[in-house]
Symmetry: C2
Subunit: 244 residues, 2 copies
Amino acid sequence: MSIKSIRVCLSPALLPFYDLTDTIAVVIDIFRASSSMCYGLANGARAIIPVAELDECLSYRKNGYLLAAERDGRVVEGFDFGNSPFSYTRDKVEGQTIVLTTTNGTSAIQRCTGAQAVVIGSFLNITALSDWLKRQDSHLLLVCSGWKNQFSLEDTVFAGAAVARLKTTGAILDDAAHAAESLYLEARHNLPAYLSKASHSQRMQHLDIAEDIAFCLQEDVVTVIPIMKGDTLVCLTDAVHTRS
Amino acid sequence: MSIKSIRVCLSPALLPFYDLTDTIAVVIDIFRASSSMCYGLANGARAIIPVAELDECLSYRKNGYLLAAERDGRVVEGFDFGNSPFSYTRDKVEGQTIVLTTTNGTSAIQRCTGAQAVVIGSFLNITALSDWLKRQDSHLLLVCSGWKNQFSLEDTVFAGAAVARLKTTGAILDDAAHAAESLYLEARHNLPAYLSKASHSQRMQHLDIAEDIAFCLQEDVVTVIPIMKGDTLVCLTDAVHTRS
């Protein structure tokens, strides 16, 4: 039993062109939503509910949930926090349910409807995720959240890191998977330097979140795999509809 | 006067997310539409009319034009030829107007509406094209035609070759331009070997067109730059609405 194929979707806007039948979708938003989701669940958050719109996020206030909203890299006024991983530490999130809306990542998750399973990938959980994926008997689609539907370097380099770990299964790769792996093999010797030319890094420079970027590029800080169960992200062991 | 920015659009489906104001769009479909367009105009074709649909192509029969149609890599029955560059030799096309519809490239051209100019790029005309682009005072968008709206390796590697030649102008690059250049720098030492893993190459293997692929990877076979004038591709020197 092993992965049948590995494809990389370079923008959520391209998702309609992929057949998601019998496919595990891995949603990637390295700076910073998918990193923070992994970190938050590892730190004891009960669940994370990704929603597309600010209004929808606010409607959960009455439930006593933590409300997180990011737009254009900043915390939206009136919300508890945004998508910085340092807002997802154990003292802040343990036992809590978080409702999160972001510019790119939460929208990408919602557009994976039809996949057999939707899980979350980041450098923080890359080994746990790859080891689990290797044991699945499905097609794999690595979904880069990008930036406002455009290509992003950091998400694609992460997809390439996953391809490099998973291609030993003998799975068929599509062109984008080959390209992502090439980029990762060039970048891996110094990820921060390679990604410093990424537009997202440059966009974030003036936001003074260099520490966030450095944090999100660490490998294997956690071992959880966030997975969608209904409309909610939980840790994989809590999920009932996977084949693991 | 020099290029203001260089962006790479990795699929025609992503074109709606780009502002084409003050932008020269370079449409790329290496295997094989953009290569054949360059070769055909260099060999004396009067003009090439790219159309999206087979029916539209057929409607030009009465004008005495050559009708070319490719779908899924093959010549469509009832048409004079497809998109093999060997159908665009001087003995076949000199003095002729060709109406062409292909799976990816002609559709990409038509989706660049709104650009200041739409020109055609291929390895066959890369130096002539790059030298001309360097002198333009516009934004540049390199548009990869891809395969049925998905990423293709050969189109992106060509975009990277163009970025490598043009970045000396000091133009700002987007993430996809950085990535395309990385891929080209890895591929350039042996383009055929690198691209042999591309799905399009593999798709075309059973079509027995290895000679077409080798031909399309040659640099600087021609010096023409096809440019859209109204709904028709002509040689750049014939065009009136450029700044060259």
